[in-house]
């Protein structure tokens, strides 16, 4: 039997985070949803509390914890009642900044990672484009050398935190792919958003994750210095594939946590709500559904924990991560849909938090690599 991966210290961290989430975030969830905007103070406040750098070494202002501390944060954040918050924060902590720690120079770590850990700089990750999402190799955003600088032209679409980011960790083509290596010619850059030619063209309107700002960004002759290049020139594809592992894992953990919350709500509601003279949870049809939800969640949780354990030990577990991303995305939407069903008309009404969770949960099957992309990855690794 597997023992709990969480130590007494992780549980104390969980208690502290839960209190923060309940007292300081949850009261704003509804207002942020209405405004289509999470207040900016969330970043510096979470930075102050150490939550933006749990797994970052102390020399960059982090807490130096293991991956399970990150898991605790990802499990607790959905309890604020808005899927947008874990997404926005996840982009900051587990999507846009890990490549800096992994591939960056000491100067880049001090200039970007350290302030991101404090919440003084907001980070975004720029992979997707109007003409390229699933097919990362097809990106058209291009950088060409100009002396020591690079000039970037192109567009990035669906950029979370895009309206407020101070910098974007961006995937850019720097050369045509070589004939013997179709993955070559792509590089990562750290692009400051206040540079001339960097423009937020539009804020996107979305079915869910409405409190999170999602941008279309235009890059028109944006001049960045040579040291804006992150990692090795031409190795960007491999680097972003590494980045996507952390992105998918954090998404899967959040998906399980969101489903757990939905389940708890459905359980409470079906015990209270009466029909035909008894609480609806007393109907066998309802009970069995709740059992299926709980079982569904638990299966995926164990799959996700296994992938977390591998990641924590430094294993590059692409298949397992793709499997848990796929499973968690499907399960969390399935559970949200069942929870909505069990709430009846209230579930469909804006007065209950269920519909928001249902809309938010839908994203996971598309974002961070769609279900189909995960299946493609798994089938390749199965040798199909």
């Amino acid at each position: 039997m597997r023992t709990s991966p969480f130590t007494e210290e992780h549980e104390q961290l969980r208690a502290a985070i839960r209190r923060f989430v309940t007292d300081e975030l949850a009261p704003h969830a509804e207002a942020w949803e209405q405004a289509g905007w999470i207040d900016d103070w969330v970043w510096p406040r979470m930075g102050e509390l150490g939550y933006l750098g749990l797994a970052v070494p102390a020399e960059y202002g982090g807490q130096g914890a293991d991956y399970w501390a990150t898991v605790v944060l990802a499990e607790e954040l959905p309890r604020c009642g808005s899927g947008s918050v874990p997404m926005a924060i996840g982009v900051q902590t587990d999507m846009a900044t890990p490549p800096i720690l992994k591939f960056g120079t000491e100067e880049q770590k001090q200039a970007y990672l350290a302030p991101a850990v404090k919440g003084e700089k907001i980070a975004a990750i720029g992979i997707s484009e109007p003409e390229a999402g699933s097919d990362v190799r097809a990106i058209r955003t291009r950088a060409r050398r100009d002396g020591r600088d690079w000039i970037i032209d192109g567009a990035k679409l669906y950029i979370t935190n895009g309206l407020r980011a101070d910098f974007v960790t961006m995937v850019v083509r720097t050369a045509a792919a070589e004939s013997d290596d179709p993955w070559s010619g792509i590089s990562l850059f750290l692009v400051d958003t206040d540079l001339p030619g960097f423009e937020v063209a539009r804020k996107l309107d979305k079915v869910g994750m409405r409190a999170s700002d999602t941008a279309l960004i235009h890059l028109d002759g944006v001049r960045v210095p040579g040291d804006a290049l992150l990692g090795v020139e031409g190795h960007g594809f491999k680097q972003i594939m590494w980045q996507l592992q952390g992105e998918r894992l954090i998404g899967a953990i959040g998906g399980v946590a969101a489903a757990q919350l939905m389940f708890e709500r459905a359980l409470a509601y079906t015990r209270e709500r009466e029909a035909f003279g008894r609480p609806i949870a007393r109907f066998q049809a309802t009970r069995h559904r709740l059992v299926d939800m709980a079982t569904d969640i638990e299966q995926v949780r164990q799959l996700v924990y296994d992938a977390c354990d591998r990641w924590n030990r430094g294993e590059y577990a692409v298949t397992e991560i793709a499997m848990c991303k796929l499973a968690a995305a499907q399960m969390s939407f399935r559970v949200a849909d069942e929870a909505l069903q069990l709430h009846g008309g209230y579930g469909y009404s804006r007065e209950f938090p269920v519909e928001r969770a249902w809309r938010d949960a839908r994203l996971a099957r598309v974002g961070g690599g769609s279900d189909e992309v995960q299946r493609e990855i798994i089938s390749k690794l199965l040798g199909l």
């Binding site: 210290e9 104390q12 961290l13 209190r19 923060f20 150490g50 749990l54 914890a65």
Partner: protein
């Protein structure tokens, strides 16, 4: 400067606190234990004294070995060390007995200031801080909603119903704080991890020179003769608003009758 922050383990404030009919104390085995909530405020004052004056802050806990997670929790906020007084003879102590143990423990330590919470979440007597000061023969500044150390004196704002008094006392002194005093921070993960390796000294009654007859159930000055569960809450009055304004009038009458206005 050396500061001591005494902390208490209490039954979870969110739950019921069942009384064990045999010894008429709270049945601690049946409920989850937590760090007394008011201690988050006294600990925060300790952390602030550390930040402002470089104070060395020690946690003091009177309680059995099973209370050690509470000591670690207190340390996780960033305090330096802990002393725990653990002895079977302490079980069943009343406020005075507890104060005797704490006072003796304090006599065995070096300090300039002791920062208590004003009352524990379970017993709520508010007696211990003043009793400790009395037993030690040092001044006490209780119910502080503001605390400052200036050279060799402590200045506090003592809260009461009409506002607060500015009071001061030379060090060494005992202070008790109310929740209005600060906005406690959450422990950081670094603090949580560091708490494991901070020094914890466990002492017995004999170590600190307490006569076992003066504490515990046998040494108690107060005796509990009987207890009853809290009566169930009576149903409230519901005022229905029919849009005519009558409800507002009814509400105003009710508030006048109850002398709320």
């Amino acid at each position: 400067m050396k500061v001591i922050v005494p902390v208490k383990r209490v039954p979870d404030t969110a739950g019921d606190k069942p009384i064990d009919p045999n010894d008429r104390t709270v049945d601690r085995d049946s409920v989850e234990s937590v760090l007394c909530p008011v201690n988050e405020f006294s600990i925060e004052e300790g952390v602030r004294l550390k930040e402002k004056h470089g104070a060395e802050v020690t946690v003091l806990l009177v309680g059995p070995d099973s209370a050690q997670p509470i000591v670690r929790k207190a340390l996780s906020y960033g305090l330096d060390a802990a002393v725990q007084v653990s002895d079977e003879g302490i079980a069943g102590s009343d406020a005075l007995g507890t104060a005797r143990v704490i006072a003796k423990a304090l006599e065995s330590m070096e300090w300039d200031l002791v920062v208590f919470g004003n009352q524990s979440a379970d017993a709520r007597t508010c007696l211990v801080p003043a009793a400790v000061a009395e037993l030690l023969g040092v001044p006490s500044l209780t119910f502080a909603r503001y605390l400052e150390v200036d050279g060799d004196k402590a200045i506090a704002h003592r809260e009461h119903e009409e506002g607060w008094d500015v009071v001061e006392a030379p060090l060494p002194a005992v202070v008790s704080v109310v929740e209005a005093i600060n906005d406690p921070r959450y422990p950081s993960f670094k603090g949580i991890m560091a708490a494991k390796s901070k020094p914890l000294t466990v002492k017995s009654l004999a170590d600190i020179g307490v006569d076992p007859a003066s504490v515990g159930a046998g040494g108690a000055a107060a005796t509990m003769y009987a207890f009853e569960p809290r009566p169930p809450k009576a149903a409230g009055t519901v005022v229905e608003d029919d849009g005519s304004g009558a409800a507002a009038e009814q509400l105003a009458d009710w508030m006048t009758e109850k002398k709320f206005v």
